[in-house]
């Protein structure tokens, strides 16, 4: 073996032995029935993890999958923190909140495993994007299986990594099977590295059971990425010598295939290649066995989280950017100071501009947002910003799943992305990254990750038929880890946007198309004036606070977005107290409670189907807390949003229907 130091070679050998023995120990703990949960193990694939991670430095990063024990040990996590995590202990690398499928440790450069097939790829690309934007020398290696190739997340993440030359090594562990399905059944061309060329970068197939071959290929890829010539796709051919998960007897792996791969076992091959001596082997083996025996003994008695800590680590508490801003709960105009009249689109644009100027970590990412002569997004909010911030207006391909993943990855690395969709309806495509990654990473990592990600989405029925019209609030309000706001005027829009950027958690802001006040070609028919006197001074509108738009005595009308404006049209004649809920998650029960206890009647107005809406949640919340209050809802019927104006108008609650709903509840309780 020329060119390599003996110590280096033995180090790689020991890592592989440690992984194999760790996995076997865990397997037998399962067979014994001592370990909870399920496991996905990597016996036979040790060379891919060790070869790649040896080529990385300690401040480089990896993302992993449900099959991540080997990646973790190769990246430098200790067997103890890993074993503890598998036992669900507080001392585990994710404090027992992650478990086998989500092992990781941010202080060691490993994001908790992403167990959604291919879900880690856009995330890794976003981490790489942050390194590029911040001129950091790090690279990211993203591990995934052959099964990931068929997912849209692979295509979207890889394409963006390619167009922006991101420092990302795409490490495909091709072990011939996705669960029980052979690659030949799901790919016409099963040479996975060929894919790279079609995206315009370099791919290579490597013997993944030859740790030196993997190491050398990874080293080359790292050098290319550091030099700005990423990404690189490495297809590592390997084989899983154990079941897909713990109960899988592998009956789909033909015996001769298994035997052929047994002959190519990465550890035995390397031992032969470096001509390991009996003494060296003995020394390493004894050390590994001792370490693991101790780890198992300690993990079995490691302390578990207490049940009272169940809700810990859902949200980040500390504000990531200390600020001495005016906080105003319910202003019409700011106290003192001068103001101007702005529409929502203008106010948002101003807020984004100020934040980008103040904080180099803030950037925008979305479709059609940074093209000179373009639109400034679908509703002109980012119009012209590319002139001032050419590097920080990231104009994406049409790939919502991908770029929400990139935004999440960048946020996780400390950036402050603002990601927007052109129409809220497209959030369904992005929802895996929003719900499974952005909202959960803090929890799964035992509170070590923050995702300060701001997301913006226009909603509302506006003459565009069923797929550019839905009120999406309902789908995101019940997601732990996520905050949701919905401003009805320009003052709130700017103030909530600023609060969101300083929050430290993922915040999704819904905006209504009829309220933007967009001008020119992007003006909307039926638009409602939502302009406000917006202060010149810096201010935020705190998340989690509702606003009383009109005080009244007889009934409380709860609304948000467009419905606030319609409710206000009939509030005087009904003597209604109108509450702009505005923060849909968390909900401000204090303000709502004070009002409904006073009026005894609550009418919740929602644009969107009545069944399963946010209104249902508010109604239940009121009924549970103040059972004597009468509650009803005014909402859309349970139909898709129609196109033809006559039906669309019947679909969307209006002032008359609100008035009718209020009169009905008042009559019922008095008659």
């Amino acid at each position: 073996m020329t060119g390599y130091d003996r110590k280096f070679l033995l180090g790689m050998y020991e890592r592989m032995v440690l992984i194999r023995e760790f996995e076997d120990a865990v397997k037998f703990l399962f067979l014994e029935g001592t370990m909870p949960g399920t496991i996905h193990q990597c016996q036979g694939q040790e060379a891919t993890a060790v070869g790649v991670c040896t080529a990385l430095s300690s401040d480089d990063w990896i993302t992993s999958t449900f099959r991540g024990h080997g990646h973790a040990l190769a990246k430098g996590l200790g067997p103890q923190e890993l074993m503890d995590e598998l036992f669900g202990a507080e001392t585990g690398c994710c404090k027992g909140r992650g478990g086998s499928m989500h092992v990781g440790n941010m202080s060691k450069g490993m994001v908790p495993g992403i167990a959604i097939v291919a879900g880690g790829i856009p995330l890794a690309a976003g981490m790489a994007l942050s390194f590029k934007l911040e001129n950091k020398p790090h690279v990211v290696a993203s591990f995934f299986g052959d099964g990931a190739i068929a997912e849209g997340a692979f295509h979207e993440g890889v394409n963006m990594a390619a167009i922006w030359n991101l420092p990302l090594i795409l490490v495909c562990e091709n072990n011939l099977y996705g669960a029980s399905t052979h690659v030949d059944l799901v790919m016409k061309n099963s040479r996975i590295s060929d894919r790279a060329k079609s995206y315009g970068f370099r791919g290579e197939t490597v013997d993944g059971n030859d740790v030196l071959a993997v190491y050398e290929a990874a080293q080359k890829a790292v050098a290319e990425c550091r030099a700005g010539h990423g990404p690189v796709l490495l297809e590592l051919l390997t084989y899983r010598r154990t079941g897909h998960s713990r109960r899988d007897p592998c009956h789909y792996q033909p015996k001769d295939e298994r035997e052929a791969w047994t002959q190519r076992d990465p550890i035995e091959r390397f031992a032969a290649r470096i001509q390991i001596t009996a003494e060296e082997h003995e020394l390493i083996n004894t050390r590994v066995q001792k370490t693991l025996a101790a780890a198992v003994e300690r993990a079995k008695v490691a302390p578990h989280p207490s049940a009272s800590d169940l809700a810990e680590y859902v949200y980040a508490e500390a504000s990531p950017r200390p600020s001495a801003l005016n906080e105003q709960l319910n202003p019409v105009v700011s106290a003192g100071g001068s103001t101007r009249r702005l529409g929502i689109a203008e106010a948002l644009r101003e807020g984004i501009t100020e934040e980008m100027a103040a904080d180099p970590r803030v950037f925008c990412i979305g479709e059609d947002i940074g093209v000179p002569g373009g639109w400034g997004g679908a509703f002109t909010v980012t119009l012209g910003l590319e002139k001032r911030f050419p590097e920080r207006m990231i104009n994406t391909p049409i790939a919502e799943l991908g770029f929400f993943g990139l935004a999440t990855g960048a946020a996780m690395m400390g950036m402050r992305p603002i990601a927007d969709v052109q129409y809220g309806d497209f959030l369904f495509l992005a929802s895996d990254q929003i719900i499974n990654n952005a909202a959960k990473l803090r929890y799964m990592s035992g509170g070590t990750i923050s995702v300060p990600l701001v997301m913006r989405a226009p909603v509302g029925a506006t003459g565009r038929g069923s797929q550019h019209a839905q009120n999406m609030e309902r789908y995101f309000t019940g997601v732990p880890g996520l905050k949701v706001v919905a401003p009805s005027n320009a003052y709130d829009a700017k103030g909530l946007l600023k609060a969101a950027l300083r929050d430290g958690n993922p915040v999704l802001m819904f905006e209504h198309k009829l309220l933007y006040g967009s001008k020119g070609a992007r003006a909307e028919g039926g638009a409602v004036d939502a302009s406000s006197d917006v202060p010149l001074d810096d201010y935020v509108v705190p998340i989690g606070k509702a606003a009383i738009r009109r005080e009244g005595k007889r009934v409380t009308v709860l609304a948000w977005l467009l419905m606030v404006h319609y409710a206000m049209q009939v509030a005087d004649e009904l003597d209604a107290e109108v509450i702009d809920v505005r923060s849909l998650s968390p909900i401000d029960w204090e303000t709502i409670g004070a009002s409904v206890r006073k009026t005894g009647h609550a009418v919740i107005v929602e644009e969107g189907p009545v069944t399963g809406g946010v209104g249902a949640e508010i109604a239940a919340g009121i009924a549970e807390r103040w059972p004597s209050v009468r509650v009803t809802r005014v909402a859309s019927p349970d139909v898709p949003v129609p196109f033809t104006p006559v039906l669309e108008n019947a679909y969307r609650p209006n002032a008359d229907r609100i008035s009718m709903g209020v009169r009905q509840i008042l009559e019922e309780s008095h008659g």
């Binding site: 014994e32 109960r247 007897p249």
Partner: protein, 80 residues
């Protein structure tokens, strides 16, 4: 030292008993961790179960044809 090997939790459904169909080693045989030690029948399939330790198989507690609950001791291995 004696290591007790238990019936592994390989059933798809909770609470079903698993049957030993065949022992692949005899009492007194030297055994190695990872070698197929017996065959069991789950509610899903017949599959092999790997030995969990290196040593000598000293006792077989559950004979082929018998069904037992997950966690029942099925064999004892004397570890050298």
């Amino acid at each position: 030292m004696d290591v007790n090997m238990k019936m592994p939790d390989l059933a798809t459904n909770e609470g079903v008993e698993l049957g030993v169909t065949r022992w692949l080693a005899n009492v007194g045989d030297p055994v190695k961790r990872g070698q197929a030690l017996l065959e069991i029948e789950t509610d899903k399939a017949v599959q092999e179960v790997e030995c969990i330790a290196n040593g000598t198989l000293t006792t077989i507690h559950v004979q082929s044809g018998q069904k037992v609950a997950v966690g029942t001791v099925i064999a004892t291995i004397k570890v050298s």
